[in-house]
Symmetry: none
Subunit: 299 residues, 2 copies
């Protein structure tokens, strides 16, 4: 019995097609049919059992196993695993054109992929563009603050609320305002040692700038979270945190990516404050979980 060893190489990576071509001359006719099928449709063959592949190629199980051996695998089982890997690999190769804008007739799966990709991109941009010195200063101010007021309207208003919710959970006195009148009324009461945060993508939202200006003039420490650091809001901000500005399109309003960006900044502020006030933050967070437990029903 002659054993043909296909080189001392380990099983085989993704270069299966090449290996098939190299070894084809040393194969018998039946084995060539099997090898051909395998190289031609890895994904399809990975779904077949040894019997199935034998039938497909008009050969026998024994031949399939022999072919697998010749290709360098211990048996068909391992060839099949490699085939599955190869299939996954070359599927990942054909990357969908996620860079394109979302079109009206895009299938829903593409919409998901494109949105996810864009938001990931926004996060990366934001992280890269965030000034850690400014962020550190903002965190320090927040951690030392007696109370914190956060101003934002529309989409930014939700970000403001998000931050307020989280700060409250670690025992930090914070409140979000969406009503411009109440916001100004509130800003008047601020003093030194208080912090005011304005969140506005455009940097020119009057309803948010106004309360920040008032807070600034009353001596509070002011922070602006904005996509336009050159905007009007910056005039009244001690610390400016820049969010990224992604391109928008008809079907994807700017609010979408600015929100993602703002939330990351706000999360950073939160975690930074939690770090600095860990002694009180950790128990407060635990207590808030505890307090809400009974509001969840167990099935």
């Amino acid at each position: 019995m002659k054993e043909i060893f296909a080189g001392g190489a380990p099983p085989a990576p993704a270069a299966l097609a090449a290996k098939v071509r190299t070894l084809a001359p040393s194969m018998t006719r039946s084995m060539q049919r099997v090898a051909e099928a395998v190289a031609g449709d890895p994904a399809g063959c990975a779904a077949l059992t040894v019997t199935g592949l034998a039938e497909l190629t008009g050969t026998s199980e024994a031949t399939v196993v022999r072919t697998a051996r010749l290709l360098g695998y211990p048996g068909y089982r391992d060839l099949r695993l490699a085939l599955a890997g190869l299939a996954a690999h070359q599927q990942s190769g054909r990357a969908p054109a996620v860079t394109a804008d979302i079109a009206v007739d895009d299938p829903i799966a593409d919409v998901v992929a494109k949105l996810a990709y864009d938001e990931q991109q926004t996060l990366a941009d934001t992280a890269a563009g965030l000034d850690t010195v400014q962020l550190g200063a903002a965190v320090a101010a927040l951690a030392a603050a007696r109370r914190t007021e956060i101003y934002g309207v529309a989409a930014s208003g939700l970000v403001a609320q998000d931050l307020a919710q989280k700060l409250l959970r670690i025992g930090h006195v914070a409140h979000a305002h969406s009503d411009p009148h109440l916001a100004v009324t509130n800003a008047v009461t601020l003093r030194a040692k208080d912090v005011a945060i304005a969140i506005t993508h455009s940097g020119s939202t009057g309803d948010v700038i106004e309360p920040l200006r008032v807070a600034f003039e009353h001596g509070a420490t002011t922070i602006a979270v904005t996509g336009r650091p050159d905007g009007l809001v910056s005039a009244y901000a001690d610390h400016i945190l820049t969010t990224s500005t992604a391109r928008e399109s008809e079907l994807r309003p700017a609010a979408m990516s600015s929100r993602t960006s703002q939330l990351l900044v706000v999360d950073c502020l939160f975690v930074g404050v939690a770090q600095r006030t860990y002694e009180t933050a950790a128990p407060a967070l635990a207590a808030s979980y505890e307090a809400l437990a009974h509001r969840h029903r167990n099935g």
Copy 2:
């Protein structure tokens, strides 16, 4: 030779780690050990037989098979194939860069990097784990809806508001409710052709389940956006959209990544509806920009 083709959803793509995290809470201890091993070292596990994996995890073959089933595969054999594919996949896209948890003494720059990475991961997991058929059905229901009511409390409440805001901007009648009493009162008024959406990470938030149940019983089409598709909320949902569940830590509450995940899902719903109602959505969106222009000051 028996070939069994399951008519339902396709087994599962490369979103295995996400699926493990999503389903982990509904798993038994032994199954969790298996799932953990599988998610932690796909390549290694792909090389093991049922018996091998059972020994490695200190469980039995039966448990391994049960876990494979729970993850959506017909049996261990298919899980193993998927694992091989996943291994090949993540080898090509090298650098898994497992981020450490955020520590109390992490410098602020690390906090930014880790948070950004985690949220990106959450987005990828969510996109991979989202059932596009369910999503499509939900979009269709929304697009045809007379009006839409969205229920969510705390962090999920903000997501609910975000969706409502956006739908309103394209001329879709939508409203978000955070007050449980008002939500139930509101749900009572729903009929067929109306849509109710419940957003809850835990899937067991009574204050949100209750209005959805009422809406469901009054004949409205109901949608659940939840991280626990096996939760109580699903009992009253016509369509279930699963958000991803990321590990949380002391300094990084679950609310953070669940929010990111929920927002992506909600964005997909929005864009889907905008596509389907493009004729009215596009002008409405343009008009909303127009209407807000004067609220921005030019410097």
